[in-house]
């Protein structure tokens, strides 16, 4: 402390502080520039190598010959590149420009198989290829990395022939051995991917034989083609070293950004991405596919604040914006914005549905909901249309079963029960619930008032509003509903212990839904998803039959009858399927709604159909 500390000294200290902070900030900035320079350098190196490669190929005549062979395959409607080739043939088609998206929170890691969030899988869709893809309109399987495939008579082995000329983004060829390696890698106990192991565990073995790879099963399963066909192929020469020792495997398990593959895009640096950074994919200049990707870059910024996200979109700094209902409605009124963006409301192929599950067994004893009439009454009391209109502002569809209404599993003959409080009251009275003491609440035969708690995930605002609406609706029939917002870990615990009256949740679903895990009576143990203890032997039989039925039509007929049984029994009151509400910058051409939702790049590893005409390119 100075001897004569005065006001001037104080100012001086403040001034010095300010200078120090500025210097520090400047250094941070200079560091950023160094990073930028390093990245640019890497890109230049890569391009130099590519140019050398192209020169070599031109000299050898490889490029020209390969091209014409692929052309024939692309114009064939049975090719995975069919739709992309159609887009490429359009007059204004052009390559270039960037597609900029945003994630609300950073993926925790991009490393395949050990990543768990959906954001990481959106990135991986562009970097890793699969054997098959699906036509978004017809939903047929189409070959991607596989040139062709066949299924054995007994449904136990699936044989894929790998397309010649397929290669990874460093130019190494992609072979059947890489496919077998991927399976081996996932099944290795040292790799931290129990999730994948549980899923791919249905496959007994994968063997590579020349350009052919065979997936073998122990018992037939209808979904086996999907499991094998959508396996993201990892490169043995890149990931192989992580299987060499326990330490190497541990290094893989802790890696945040080890992402490398054969897809249309790649990370400039396939090793060092860390969470929090924006994800920037650059064009894979060595992409093996017939149709080269249209965008030069695909970028995901990390914008955790919804307001900031919208601002960025309004400024044109990001190209897509996923809105919540209220926001969507407000934005539609914004004419300036609407003149330069397009909007889409659609049901996502993997959107899933929201439901209320009525617990039929608690503490080993049947609950009131074990009575089918009570469950049906609750469904009649649930005004689904009103939920859709008031909570989701109309941007949702009511649901009456577990199947995607766009798919062939759905039984369209079944009508959704409307709101009918009188019917509900009659059913409840039939089941023995009446208002015996005139207090407005119905009671069971032994005088217990009909009071139930509804557990729901506390993180979601939509659930809160939905449950409050139901509370106000149920009370008119004398049913008291107590909302019980619950943290996710507690919710899982309640499900495992079956300590709840009713629970409201959403299942996300694939296009074809296997009911086994949700409704088969064998799945009501701990860890199973039949947590309402629903038991219908007839339904069990139908589900079992459907799972081993490989014939598509016969299987769909079985699923439809399963749908009807569930519709009769109402183990759940199915609520709705929320629509996805997307705004997309209008300069991006060929964005269209398809049966599977939107033809966005990456859905089932679909080759990119979107592009930006030359005149509109921005970046």
């Amino acid at each position: 402390m100075g001897k004569r500390f005065s006001a001037r000294d104080l100012l001086l200290i403040l001034f010095l502080g300010a200078i120090l902070v500025s210097v520090w900030l400047a250094m941070v900035q200079i560091d950023r520039q160094w990073v930028f320079i390093r990245e640019t350098q890497q890109k230049l190196d890569g391009q130099t190598r590519d140019i050398a490669e192209i020169r070599r190929q031109l000299r050898d005549g490889v490029a020209v010959a390969g091209r014409s062979a692929q052309d024939a395959a692309a114009t064939d409607p049975g090719s995975g590149f069919y739709r992309a080739a159609l887009a490429e043939a359009r007059d204004d088609y052009a390559r270039g420009d960037w597609l900029v998206n945003a994630f609300p929170s950073s993926p925790q890691r991009l490393t395949p198989t050990i990543s768990t969030d959906t954001y990481a899988s959106r990135v991986q869709e562009q970097v890793l290829d699969t054997l098959l893809t699906r036509d978004p309109e017809s939903l047929e399987w189409l070959p991607l990395l596989a040139a062709s495939w066949s299924v054995s008579e007994d449904g136990l082995s699936y044989r894929f022939r790998i397309r010649p000329g397929a290669r990874f983004s460093d130019g190494e060829p992609l072979t059947a051995a890489d496919v077998a390696f991927t399976y081996r890698f996932i099944m290795d106990e040292r790799i931290a991917t129990p999730r994948f192991r549980a899923y791919y565990g249905r496959i007994a073995e994968v063997t590579a034989n020349g350009d052919e790879v065979v997936f073998r099963l122990d018992e037939p399963y209808y979904g086996a083609l999907e499991i094998a066909g959508l396996l993201p192929i990892m490169a043995e020469h890149f990931y192989g070293r992580y299987l060499q020792s326990a330490e190497a495997a541990e290094e893989f398990n802790n890696a945040t950004g080890l992402l490398f593959g054969s897809g249309p895009y790649k990370l400039a640096d396939p090793v060092n991405w860390t969470p929090g950074q924006a994800v920037e994919l650059i064009r894979n200049e060595r992409y093996w596919g017939r149709v080269q990707p249209s965008f030069d870059r695909v970028i995901w910024k990390i914008i955790s604040n919804d307001a900031a996200n919208l601002t960025e979109f309004k400024n044109g700094d990001i190209d897509t914006y996923n809105a919540r209902p209220l926001n969507y409605r407000n934005l539609l009124a914004d004419e300036a914005l609407m003149s330069r963006v397009r909007h889409f409301e659609y049901q996502d192929a993997r959107g899933g549905y929201t439901f209320i599950a009525w617990n039929q067994r608690r503490d080993g004893k049947p609950t009131w909901f074990a009575d089918r009439r009570v469950r049906e009454a609750m469904t009649y009391l649930t005004d689904r249309q009103r939920v859709v209109d008031e909570v989701f502002l109309g941007y949702a569809e009511t649901a009456n079963g577990p199947f995607n209404p766009l798919g062939p599993q759905n039984n369209v003959a079944l009508a959704t029960r409307g709101y009918d409080p009188d019917r509900a009251r009659a059913l409840l009275a039939e089941a023995g619930f009446e208002d015996r003491d005139g207090d407005g609440v119905i009671e069971s035969a032994d005088g217990e008032p009909f009071r139930i708690s509804l557990t729901y995930p506390s993180a979601s605002d939509d659930y809160k509003r939905l449950v409050l609406l139901l509370k106000d609706l149920y009370v008119t029939a004398g049913v008291i509903l107590e909302p019980e917002p619950t943290d996710w870990p507690l919710l899982l615990k309640a499900i495992d212990d079956k300590t709840f009256d009713a629970i409201s949740l959403g299942w996300s679903s694939d296009f074809e839904v296997d009911l086994f895990q949700f409704f088969h009576s064998s799945q009501n143990g701990p860890g199973g998803d039949n947590f309402v203890s629903y038991d219908n032997p007839e339904l069990d039989a139908v589900i079992e039959a459907a799972r081993v039925q490989l014939d598509e039509n016969a299987r769909m007929a079985l699923w439809r009858s399963a749908h009807e049984m569930i519709w009769q029994d109402q183990p759940y009151t199915f609520l709705l399927r929320a629509s996805r509400l997307d705004f997309i910058d209008a300069r991006i051409a060929n964005v269209e709604r398809v049966r599977a939702g939107l033809n966005r790049p990456g859905l089932w590893r679909m080759p990119t159909e979107w592009y930006v005409p030359v005149a509109l390119q921005r970046h």
Binding site: D306, L326, N330, L473, P483, P485
Partner: protein, 392 residues
């Protein structure tokens, strides 16, 4: 000062000292404004069912007159009313020795009895009166000044997030409930949390700090370490953890806020006791062979408690803020009106901003916190002008 003089002065002092403090506090404009606002909040809390209620105060249906508002009163409403009138009566009759004990017995017994016997109808359909009036099945109805209950989400004609208009003077929230009604009913949580949480903290703090201040040596060192543990974990962390892990419950929140804010009081009282211990009158009491508890609670506590009052006043403000912050972070009680919870809804998805949901609840929190701080400030100056130098 001789020992005798000290204790004589002390025996005569408390009554006049207390009166002096009250007079000096009252002399400050700030304190008067603060008290006035808290009185308004308290009146709102007590009379909430008569200020904002969907049930009519009086209603004629099929020629029969009834008062749905009265028949829907719950045990909390009744005991609050009882407490209010008991305290009012006690104040009017003040001066007699038996008045305060009687009033508190009345409140205690009344609360227990009403908790046991009062059971308002569980099935509440708020819109039935409005629908009935429109359809003609209800002939006349006299409503409260704000004809909406805090959880009445107007299901007969849903209007969520509407700006203030003639029907909803402060607009509606995202569920369609009337903001003014929720504001009025939220006074209960605000007042309750402040008083109960600070009460718990005071009791723990006084006992703990008293023991620490009276016994020196190892006891004190050990107790000090324990106190430091609680001081060093930020209160907000503990609150967040407990509420996130053990569920959202208003009573749990009160207890936890109380359990995490006592170290300040304990430290305060300890310092005060250390000072007092050296003073003549305590040493005199010790010399006379009085039992420890008697010295602690009859002689030392009344003298050490004054600065605690100041701290408690600021503590109430802090407790109200803590609840508001928790509700704001989305950890509040569902369906229970709370100022912080309403503030949380002001900025919606995509940055849509509802100014009425930001302004009114925020203003209410601010005014209440400010009122308690003003009172605390005035009390501090009244008790001891020198205190204002120390940490609050």
């Amino acid at each position: 000062m001789t020992e005798a003089a000290g204790s004589v002065a002390d025996a005569a002092e408390p009554e006049t000292f207390r009166r002096q403090v009250v007079r000096r506090t009252w002399a400050r404009l700030g304190a008067r404004i603060g008290l006035a606002w808290i009185a308004v909040v308290a009146l709102c809390a007590v009379f909430a069912p008569f200020l904002a209620n969907s049930h009519p105060l009086l209603m004629e249906r099929d020629g029969v007159w009834s008062s749905p508002a009265l028949s829907h009163l719950g045990w909390v409403d009744v005991s609050l009313l009882l407490a209010f009138f008991a305290l009012l009566g006690a104040w009017l009759l003040s001066g007699r020795r038996w008045v305060m004990p009687l009033a508190f017995t009345l409140i205690g017994v009344g609360t227990l009895v009403s908790y046991q016997i009062i059971s308002p109808p569980a099935a509440v359909v708020f819109e039935q009166y409005r629908v009935g009036l429109a359809a003609g099945s209800v002939e006349t109805a006299v409503f409260a000044p704000v004809p909406f209950s805090p959880t009445d989400r107007s299901r007969d004609r849903p209007r969520s997030l509407t700006a203030p208009d003639r029907e909803h003077l402060m607009g509606t929230d995202e569920d369609g409930a009337d903001v003014l009604s929720r504001m009025i009913h939220a006074c209960r949580i605000a007042l309750g949390i402040g008083l109960v949480a600070t009460g718990i903290a005071l009791v723990i703090g006084i006992v703990y700090g008293g023991i620490m201040g009276f016994f020196a040596g190892w006891t004190e060192i050990l107790m000090m370490r324990f106190l430091e543990i609680f001081e060093s974990v930020p209160q907000l962390f503990l609150l967040l953890m407990v509420v996130a892990f053990f569920g959202r419950n208003i009573y749990l929140m009160m207890v936890v806020i109380g359990l995490t804010s006592w170290p300040g009081y304990a430290r305060y009282l300890r310092a005060e006791f250390l000072k007092l211990r050296k003073q003549d009158f305590v040493q005199a009491a010790q010399a006379c062979g009085l039992p420890v508890t008697s010295i602690l609670f009859r002689h030392m506590l009344p003298n050490g408690v004054a600065p605690l009052l100041v701290a408690a006043s600021f503590g109430i403000a802090a407790a109200i803020l803590a609840e508001a912050v928790l509700s704001f972070l989305g950890l509040g009680v569902v369906d229970e009106p709370s100022w912080g919870g309403m503030l949380n809804q002001a900025v919606g998805p995509g940055g849509t901003f509802a100014p009425w949901l930001a302004t009114y609840p925020g203003l209410a929190i601010f005014l209440t916190v400010f009122a308690y701080n003003l009172i605390g400030e005035a009390l501090r100056d009244a008790i001891d002008p020198h205190l204002s130098r120390e940490r609050s």
